[in-house]
Symmetry: C2
């Protein structure tokens, strides 16, 4: 399997997806035709979202087709050269995919070798479940199980900082709650600007910011970039 | 109905629940026996959570019984003088209540006049659904519908601030996503330190910090303390 899972789409003072252009180009390895899943987009139309991604990745000269524009989305997944899933609201993304019966089809197509590229909600979707999303549960997805393309849960946009004076739970506290109810999980706190690339049996961590591994009963463990060995 | 819905349990440099003691005492209006629902607690035992609340409210000389300690929780709800629901993880709280078939019973008992007191997740539970929780979806509650004791959605711990340099969605952006999929909703952004009290047909806002009303197609509207008139 070939996965590229980015924490986020935008960095301060950079155009949309700019830091993602190079890893996306490498991940596609010459493939030009990309099936884009814009279903996480809520406050923009799926057309506008697809256009925005097209423009942001124009340097790669891709042929990006929005899955919402094809007559048979299931067939489009089954023949996709590459699948790209954008960020937004993870609950809505999962709901839309489930309602169209796309989850199994995407999983199978990626297992057959089509690269999967996702950022933010798109990275959440690749995990065993969406239980490490930061999003507001604005729609019931009918179950939290997701694509299950990798063994770990990724928490995108990871930061443990709180706004000054705020008493709500820190991100680590939230992840620790999950580890209380599901102690066997490994959760990767993936900060903005970083990504995980999976190629065959190996996974690699990249990006400039500190990444953390959370496991039940253990202190948070910093993960070095490069080959990911989670034991 | 008599509801007291607090944004949160703790304020900076104050003991647990200290700012809540006075409004809780007023809400109980002399009642001493309180049925406490600790099911939102995940990283502490329900016993420890109940003890912590007992100690924090000791000045009120209440008889606080944890619902997890009674033989027949449904009967305990049906005869409760007052029901108090603590914060923690809203998804777990809703799941535990649903699995024990307590939601309808709590709603009916509160409609019969038993005061309902909730903070954080406990305030979320009183809303039509838990779709304005900030919590991580660590467990699937089997549907997001909740107690539906009031007409609005409360977003507890409301702040629109982000940690410096963070690019994730602001709280207002998250709420706006909900208003995109459910435009008829009114969402109250209730900051830490504030609460809403419902008495019969009237609702009142209290607390020192700015509270905001969010509606589809309208700018965020500041809500003055005192009688809440949401039109």
């Amino acid at each position: 399997m070939e996965l590229l899972l980015l924490s986020n789409s935008s960095l301060p003072d950079q155009p949309y997806l700019q830091h993602a252009v190079e890893p996306i180009g490498q991940q596609l390895a010459g493939r030009r035709k990309v099936l884009f899943v814009p279903f996480a987009g809520v406050t923009q139309s799926w057309d506008a979202y697809t256009d925005k991604v097209r423009q942001a990745l124009s340097a790669l000269e891709l042929d990006i087709v929005g899955i919402h524009t094809v007559e048979d989305p299931l067939a489009a997944v089954q023949s996709a050269e590459a699948i790209m899933v954008g960020g937004g609201n993870t609950f809505v993304l999962l709901k839309q995919c489930r309602e169209r019966h796309l989850l199994g089809a995407i999983r199978r197509r990626v297992q057959q070798g089509a690269p999967y590229i996702g950022w933010s909600a798109g990275a959440n979707l690749a995990c065993p479940s969406i239980r490490t999303t930061n999003d507001m549960p604005i729609a019931d997805p009918g179950g939290f199980d997701a694509l299950d393309l990798l063994a770990w849960q990724i928490n995108p946009h990871f930061t443990n900082a709180l706004p000054a004076g705020h008493q709500g739970e820190t991100r680590e506290q939230r992840i620790r709650e999950l580890l209380c109810v599901e102690p066997a999980l490994s959760v990767i706190g993936l900060p903005e600007g970083n990504w995980i690339q999976v190629s065959g049996e190996h996974a690699y961590l990249a990006g400039p910011n500190p990444t953390w591994l959370f496991r039940a009963g253990q202190a948070a463990q910093p993960l070095p970039t490069g080959l990911l060995t989670l034991g």
